[in-house]
Amino acid sequence: MVIADIRIELKHGVTDPEGQNTLKALELLGFEGVRAVRTVKVFEIDLDAEGDGALQMCENMCRKLLANPVIQNYQIELK
């Protein structure tokens, strides 16, 4: 069994309302020097598979369900 860490982030240039609203809140709370906040979604998946097979499966999951290639990039890491 492996644990896959799939990290989904918005592509550059796609607005991130959650990140922006968090940034604003941090500023209003008095945090100084916060330049930008980006939100990233991570799926941690326990898989009955190994190595390349596992990687391939995660690729497929991203393409079919977890990510939208139009606006998001994904990175898969096996642990």
Partner: protein, 268 residues
Amino acid sequence: MKKVCILRIEGTNCEDETFAAFHKVGAEPERVHLKQLTGHAPLDLRRDLMDYDILALPGGFSAGDYIRAGAIFAARMKASLGTQLRDFVTQGRPVIGICNGFQILVELGLRPAFDEVMAPQPQVALYTNDSDRFECRPTLLRMDNRGSCVWTSGLGMGDVVMFPSAHAEGHLKFPAGEEDRFLERLDENDQIVFRYVDEDGQLAGYPWNPNGSPGNVAGICNPEGNVLGLMPHPERAMTRFNYPEWTRGRDGDDGDGLRLFRAVVGRN
């Protein structure tokens, strides 16, 4: 006439119907932006929290409910209005948090607040519904408070009311392993106000309990009983024409929400 501060920030909604609800029971409500209370507004629009008799935190999606529902609003209030808020509560003035307002109270540490007025960190959480979905549905609530809560003084114990629910994060979470202890403690302090029930007034699972909260708890108050937080929306039940089954026959024009709002406005 009782002055009511209906507090809002960007993304707050439900303030119009909360306004209408207080208005209907003869109070003098006003929609006030948080910035009007903290001096960040044109002179003629500045307000002082202590000039109001009642504070209402309406439902909605303050700041989009990003991060966690109510978290941003709560953090901003705590940073800019903390002391006044504490005074307002200790003086026994009524405070209500509905839906998002309940989430804000929880994030503020004002609920359940066993030992102190406002805990430095949240003690419970309102977390994603078991269904993982936003649930907009009518819910029946049994009033289980034995008398501490000023907001329900117009209802009898065991009365069942219909207040609709509409939320994605309403599952009351206690620290892991301490669920029973928390529930017992809330009960001992007479802090449980509403529980989700079915048509027979019995505790029941989904969809009667729309979010999976333990003990079917839908609303709780502080031990003193002046601060009430609840997920369902009493302001959406002010006339019988808000009811899901009103075309199936129901007497009178009044809705159950009236009894809740009347209780604090009629009081001196």
